[in-house]
């Protein structure tokens, strides 16, 4: 190369820079001005685009645990009984009606006639019996769903429209609320191992639901096609596409420009920003999630063997009560959630009005002085350094406070709570830990205070069941993870057995409230707040979505995806063009490039004699 005069070497550096800059600017302009939703949108296809960031765990509906596959399964498959949109009441799904025998052990379902699989085969009671038999006979699937499947004895289909389920013990709430996805026998019986994670990987999936998963590209999109022959009426949209956005702010920006139609899990700032757009409707409603602080009040096995290394002071209910009294839950809701939530009392969020317990006269009110008084009375003396010590030793009340490292809300809560607890003479060492590691420590009992949080379903048994003595671990290695908070109280367990078989809703609700009251006064956990579900959608494009419950949420529905079945394309409006700011940005970029080019040219002239 050296010495050879090629045209390239004659081209000056400035010109090459200019050319490169111009190319860049041009391509940026083209990309920005290209029609949004570049994935070749057919004009005739009505699509709902939903932003997501969660990977798919498995297409096997019996093993799926993620929210994303919960949603796609609910759309691809039917369940016998749906959870209603008004107030989480049971409503007919594939079963038009159902009856329970007097002893509650035999359930007879009438299966809907005229339902078909997406490949055209008819759906009969035999498919339902096949599905429930997978739960009974396939060991791996049974283990995976043991809390429900363990109680099943037999599943039979005497004729095409009748399905009979037999139980070991009566469990009406479980049978009604447990949505089992009915799968097609003629497909599934060909699978060598129906319990394998990849057993059902052939797309499109065959199901009987209003949509079905037809295409999936990892980290790009999931496409679901509408079932035009759905027995409950064809959906209004032709397809639903989950688009992957790794950054929440990118998803918000995409909703602003119309590239995506529904974005869930917003934070207050995002919800506020989106509220200023005419085509966006922000939906800020009660959620199903609670955030709590688990206090290590002593982890024990079923045999009473203690394990873990929790601080001894936390075994004292007075200390736990003082800690509870020194937390201003309303302040947390106001600042951390910007008011989009409610202070929590117990483990069933307020959205489930029929089960929720509001604290009544036992409600603990925020009062730092009262908290200090409780600790003084219990004999924890304040040292000169402002930290209390145990009544019988010099051990300081110094607690480790573990938070999920990836959760910024929790990091803010930690700052608040630490400041309050410091005022009552506790020394707090906050430590952010990865979620998996934190769970490991929590189940090993090697913590003092740790964050926890659950999305609660409409059946309270699920959450209450995690607080019974029966699920305490038998080993101390932290491998058995059915018990939440190591809670064990005989009185609570007795109430739990009663509510499980109580078929009168009001009587059951009363029992469930008593259970929560017990939990609240024993105080193994401090429930902080119920987080609102904040979501936003493009109301210029979608209308008529049924929320759950009434005036409730669109994303995060339970038991059936009402919103997507009922969504209708809104009347056409003149949206979809390139937004004005793109043109302004492109113009500005061109001006900058031209100016830079001019500058370089001038420089080149002025230094021409010095070069070469």
């Amino acid at each position: 190369m050296r010495g050879a005069v090629t045209p390239m070497s004659k081209l000056s550096k400035a010109w090459r820079l200019l050319a490169a800059g111009a190319t860049l600017a041009l391509s940026a302009a083209l990309v920005a001005a290209a029609p949004s939703g570049a994935a070749a949108q057919d004009e005739d296809t009505d699509t709902i685009r939903i932003a997501t960031d969660q990977e798919v765990d498995t297409w096997n509906p019996f093993k799926a645990r993620y929210v994303i596959t919960y949603n796609t399964n609910l759309m691809t498959y039917d369940t016998l009984i749906r959870i209603g949109a008004d107030g989480y009441e049971p409503v007919p799904g594939l079963a038009t009606e159902w009856t329970e025998s007097d002893d509650g052990l035999t359930w007879t379902f009438t299966i809907r006639e005229g339902a078909t699989w997406s490949d055209g085969e008819p759906l009969t009671a035999a498919d339902v019996a096949y599905t429930y038999n997978l739960l009974i006979e396939n060991q791996a699937i049974r283990d995976w769903n043991i809390d429900f499947a363990g109680n099943l004895v037999s599943a039979e289909a005497p004729d095409d429209t009748t399905f009979v389920l037999t139980l070991k013990e009566a469990a009406p709430a479980e049978v009604i609320n447990r949505g089992i996805y009915i799968v097609p026998e003629h497909i599934w019986s060909t699978y060598p191992d129906p319990s394998a994670d990849d057993a059902n990987d052939q797309l499109p999936l065959v199901g009987s639901g209003p949509f079905r998963v037809s295409e999936y590209e990892t980290d790009e999109f999931i496409r679901l096609d509408a079932n035009e022959n759905y027995w409950d009426g064809a959906p209004g949209f032709d397809e639903i596409v989950y688009d992957y956005y790794s950054e929440p702010d990118a998803a918000v920006a995409a909703l602003e420009t119309g590239e995506v139609d529904i974005v869930g899990a917003l934070n207050p700032a995002q919800a506020e920003a989106l509220g200023e757009y005419d085509h966006v409707t922000v939906n800020d409603t009660q959620g199903r999630r609670y955030v709590s602080l688990t206090i290590n009040h002593g982890t024990v096995t079923q045999d009473g063997e203690e394990f873990g290394d929790g601080h001894p002071a936390l075994k004292d209910p007075a200390v736990r009560l003082a800690m509870h009294t020194a937390i201003d839950k309303q302040a947390l809701v106001d600042t951390v959630l910007d008011g989009s939530g409610t202070p929590a009392t117990s483990l069933i969020p307020a959205i489930f009005e029929q089960w929720h317990w509001d604290g009544g006269e036992d409600l603990v009110e925020f009062d730092i002085d009262e908290a200090n008084r409780i600790l003084d009375e219990a004999g924890y003396e304040m040292g000169e350094d402002g930290i209390r010590t145990m009544p019988d030793s010099d051990q300081k009340l110094s607690f480790r406070f573990y938070q999920h490292a990836d959760n910024t809300d929790y990091a803010t809560v930690v700052q608040f709570v630490s400041e309050w607890w410091k005022q009552i003479g506790l020394e707090i060492t906050p430590e952010p830990i990865e979620q998996t590691a934190l769970n490991d420590l929590a189940y090993l009992g090697e913590f003092d205070v740790a964050f926890s949080g659950w999305g609660v379903g409409p059946n309270p048994t699920e959450q209450l069941g995690m607080h019974t003595c029966a699920v305490l671990p038998t080993l101390t290695d932290g491998s058995e993870r059915s018990s939440e908070n190591s809670y064990c109280n005989e009185e609570f367990d007795a109430l739990h057995e009663q509510q499980k078989v109580e078929s009168d809703p009001d009587a059951r609700a009363e029992l469930v409230r008593q259970q929560q009251q017990l939990l609240y006064s024993d105080n193994p956990v401090i429930w902080l707040y119920y987080q609102n579900n904040m979501e936003a959608y493009n109301s210029d494009k979608i209308s008529g979505m049924t929320t759950q419950p009434t005036d409730g949420m669109v994303t995060g529905q339970e038991g059936f995806m009402w919103a997507y079945l009922t969504a209708q394309p809104a009347a056409e409006s003149d949206e979809g063009g390139t937004p004005m700011w793109v043109w302004i940005a492109v113009g500005a970029a061109v001006v900058v490039i031209l100016a830079a080019g001019g500058f370089l040219l001038m420089r080149r002239r002025s230094t021409a004699d010095e070069r070469e």
């Binding site: 702010d249 207050p268 700052q415 952010p432």
Partner: protein, 304 residues
């Protein structure tokens, strides 16, 4: 001059010579405008960081005692607006300077000490030891530093100390090479042979002759290492890998982006910590480049 030297003790002579060298270096530094600008900027920032406890009261940093609203735009009470908890962004940025500087400086010192030790011994002893240390530092040099730092933090947990250690681990290797090269050139000079002939041991040679000769270079490279350490700290904190219980510029940015400051167009929440990082990095770079030019005359421009 010569009469003075005769009456002075050898130690005094040494000191006089050092003073003279320092003055010469200062003269060479002073004439570089960017270096002086950097120095003044840096001085101001360090002063502010030291004075931060006087300017910012603990109440300004307390979330429970915050008086502002959620992400309020700049106003008379809050010149740079407020964060999500209603605290003044100005107070946070001022306070954050302390941690950013401390982490940047400490990590650099640790990295420089490791690098100088290994480089000096590697160049001095040579042989298989020299070969081994050189390959060892090469190995660290080719590791992608951010990836290694993220992995290490995930394993070691998040705290200020681990952040410092991790940054030092990923940034010591360049110094080793630099020091080793300089050691090799100094080692081959005749006066070291003379010293050896006079019976100087390894320790004496390394501490009295080699180290003073490599130190200026180390100083220049340290000044250039600090900004990269600060950037690394901010990057890690911004990625959410810092200690979230302390305030640094990176952690302010992390909280801002997590709380949706981008969507809310809260520029006052994002820009100040970003500009602060830029300013510190810039002033360190200016000082470092100027220092480099002082100790390496070949880099000195004619006009300056």
């Amino acid at each position: 001059m010569s009469t003075d030297a005769k009456t002075l003790s050898p130690r005094a002579v040494t000191w006089a010579r050092r003073r003279q060298a320092t003055r010469r270096a200062w003269d060479a530094y002073r004439v570089q405008r960017s270096g002086m600008v950097g120095l003044v900027l840096l001085g101001a920032i360090v002063l502010l960081a030291i004075a931060a406890p006087l300017l910012v009261s603990p109440a300004d940093l307390s979330v429970t005692q915050a008086t502002g609203g959620r992400m309020d735009p700049p106003s008379a009470g809050f010149p740079l607006g407020t964060d999500t908890n209603g605290r003044s962004v100005l107070a946070l940025v001022l306070w954050g300077s302390r941690l950013s500087l401390v982490i940047g400086l400490t990590a650099t010192v640790v990295a420089i000490v490791i690098g100088t030790l290994l480089g000096l011994t590697s160049g001095y002893y040579g042989g298989w030891y020299g070969w081994f240390t050189l390959r060892f530092s090469d190995w660290f040099m080719v590791l992608p530093s951010l990836v290694v730092a993220i992995a290490l933090l995930a394993v070691m947990g998040r705290s200020v100390v681990t952040t410092i250690v991790v940054i030092a681990i990923v940034s010591w290797s360049g110094t080793t090479r630099l020091v080793r090269a300089q050691t090799l050139t100094v080692k081959s000079r005749p006066y070291l042979e003379r010293a050896r002939a006079l019976g100087a041991g390894d320790w004496h040679q390394m501490t009295k002759h080699l180290l003073p000769n490599v130190l200026p270079l180390v100083l220049a490279s340290a000044t250039l290492l600090v900004p990269s350490a600060i950037l690394m700290e901010s990057t890690l904190a911004w990625l959410g890998l810092g200690d979230p219980t302390v305030i640094s510029w990176g952690s302010i940015l992390n909280e801002a982006s997590n709380q949706g400051a981008v969507s809310a167009r809260a520029w006052w929440y994002l820009l100040p910590p970003g500009l602060a990082i830029l300013l510190v990095v810039l002033s360190f770079m200016m000082c470092g480049r100027a220092l480099e030019a002082v100790f390496n005359p070949r880099l000195r421009g004619e006009s300056s």
